[in-house]
Symmetry: C2
Subunit: 405 residues, 2 copies
């Protein structure tokens, strides 16, 4: 393992990675995992990847696990990068791809954070953790925790997708609902952490979730043969994926795996919960709490992200942008991509397609640019976003297309 230490990105204080650390003890900022990148550069070559397992653990030199026996795996795969040829024609673009994170265990990209977060928790002998969640992260951490024999305490808003409740419960987590938002769940978790001394697995309050999310960018880079795309669009709630992608790109550059300009990173939010977009438009380096947040893209209902300054840094440093999409458009594009490409994606993922069309129309994305949409989860987890009223036939009836359709 090549981890050298943990570091606060605000005050640069260093922390020991051999111990459990949460936030920076002086300024309460999230800690980042730092590697001895010189040593990684010397010892990690692209060629060595060809013989490795086809999942995120293949990038082990840039992951924080010391002993491979601590790896907790639920069968992760390299998620597919799918070319959207029919939508390219429809939209006028030439190189449009979707990275489909619905192929992760539990059907969402939250598994990346959980895989690395739980593996590291196991390595650090953690016995129990608590976390607030909009559903998918809680589900992902619960299933990995079950496999690792770690106890999970999960708090999610009542309105979170029902299926994510069931995933927590069936895998043995203790689940609590709150009649509020993820920020309210966060307050309840904070009290429980204080009272019961659980590990705090809230977004960015432990340093290893980012390391898991980071593998998204490793995969994209390798899938494009280390020739990066021009634009990556990411549905942004807590923003850990974007922070992770940016961190991964810097690390890949440092070890010589990639060269040249980084992709422009785009934070896509919902119009009714767009604190990052507002901060970006006002050229701020931090966001403000978004009052009365509410969107069908439930996973990105995050009124104020603890890592907002890191998200905005990633956007500014890559010449990216932030853009908000209405719920109406989210549902429209979710249907469009299913009908055209057969991809039943989550509303959050659909927001990136809507954003792409808007950014192409206003000239920010150019015709020939290579564009990657990040679909963060499977549409299966959001059954209520699709309405169906099929005809019900009796057993002795027959189909009559003229009449029925």
């Amino acid at each position: 393992m090549y981890v050298s230490h943990l570091e606060c990105p605000k005050c640069n204080t260093k922390f020991n990675h051999k111990e459990l650390n949460q936030l920076c003890t002086s300024c309460q900022a999230p800690l980042l995992v730092r590697y001895d990148l010189k040593a990684v550069k010397e010892n990690f070559k692209k060629e060595s990847l060809s013989s490795r397992s086809f999942n995120l653990w293949r990038y082990k030199e840039l992951l924080p696990i010391e002993d491979e026996k601590n790896i907790v795996s639920l069968g992760e795969v390299i998620t597919p990068l799918i070319k959207l040829e029919k939508l390219e024609k429809k939209l006028g673009l030439k190189n449009l791809y979707l990275k489909d994170e619905g192929f992760n265990p539990g059907g969402s990209f939250k598994s990346r954070g959980a895989a690395v977060g739980i593996s590291k928790a196991k390595e650090l002998n953690v016995e129990a953790f608590a976390m607030p969640t909009n559903g998918n992260a809680g589900a992902a951490w619960s299933i990995y925790a079950a496999r690792a024999d770690i106890k999970a305490y999960i708090v999610m808003p009542e309105d979170a997708p029902t299926i994510t409740r069931n995933e927590c419960v069936v895998s043995g987590a203790e689940l609590f609902l709150v009649d509020g938002l993820i920020s309210d769940a966060g307050k309840i978790v904070a009290k429980a952490i204080n009272k019961y001394k659980f590990m705090d697995a809230s977004t960015l309050k432990e340093p290893y979730r980012i390391e898991g999310k980071k593998t998204l960018a490793f995969e994209i880079a390798e899938q494009f043969s280390w020739e990066l795309p021009d634009v990556i669009l990411y549905p942004t709630g807590g923003g850990v994926g974007l922070i992770g992608i940016y961190k991964a790109l810097l690390e890949l550059k440092e070890i010589g795996f990639i060269k040249g300009k980084l992709p422009r990173l785009v934070a896509v939010q919902a119009s009714n919960c767009a604190p990052i977009v507002k901060a970006f438009e006002e050229k701020k380096s931090e966001s403000k709490f978004w009052e009365n947040a509410n969107t069908i893209a439930f996973g990105i209902t995050v009124p104020k992200a603890i890592g907002d300054f890191l998200v905005l840094e990633a956007i500014y440093e890559t010449n990216g942008c932030a853009i908000a999409i209405s719920d109406e458009d989210i549902l429209k594009y979710q249907e469009l991509i299913a009908k055209e490409e057969g991809l039943f994606i989550c509303p959050e993922g659909a927001a990136t397609l809507a954003a792409t069309e808007e950014l192409y129309k206003n000239g920010w994305i150019k015709k020939d640019e290579k564009v990657v949409l990040l679909n963060t989860g499977s549409g299966l987890k959001y059954p209520n976003t699709v309405k169906s009223n099929p005809i019900i036939l009796k057993v002795d009836e027959e189909i009559n297309l003229e009449k029925d359709l």
Copy 2:
């Protein structure tokens, strides 16, 4: 492409694979795709696999697609083979694996049949098809059809999982429900085929779905480095997977990729719909229609499978067996594997775990044998099999473990 012809396994009549064929025109049996296996043996070497894409299309020499541009892909992956170390200890076994088909597009193994079936339909210029389904097959064929611009007409029982309806509708299929079983849906489809001249995509009424399912065995063989497991347990409704696995194993043997005894194939059914088990116990070569079929493992509610004689042949020829599991045990083992291993699998998949424990206890499976459970789909598609009644907290409340749990 190495396909030589289509063949009726009952009367051995040959059919032209360059035309659309459905059942054998003389005896109404399913047609099987035959390859020039001598030519495959000469031209297909294990070593060539190392540089190929990591999905089912890597086995192209044993697939029926002539022109690769007809391949319709939704990002298929080699689904993971997961060692169940905690369950091994609990059950007393030493080599227990789960092949997790929840990683397929749409979350079920039906995608394998749809990927190859739709690709071949595209190659044969099919414009529309109709099919009866217990849900997952209809969903899988609908999403692939959307990508291929082929029109889908789907008929499923009212009781089929709701999410599968939404998958059909969102991807543009025409969906009809019937207040009966898949056999009733089948009758409605038969009339529609006759009336509208759609392709009939009913189970085994077109020859290419088996070819997709076959890849399950190719993957298992390769994942075990071509040293086959001793036992494969498969949740059996229509039984196409089992037929496909058996066909694949014979083909692999013929081209010299595998040697020795084949794995014993086990058909696992639900106690309230177990026609194959009954036929096996009575040493019959065909099954009888099962009256009042009803099980929580909805995907295997098939009262009489058109390929029953092929399923039974696969069992007899490999010294396998057939076993029925109660709904109560299905749910019990679904929870067990989620709590122990973090795997939220479908009820059908859970039935194979229950069967394993029973077959181990009665001595049919030995301690050291290498056993593979086939989980045919993700638990996400069956939200109602898990009950959760979490405590609801107000925003200013806190967790009290002593009181709450």
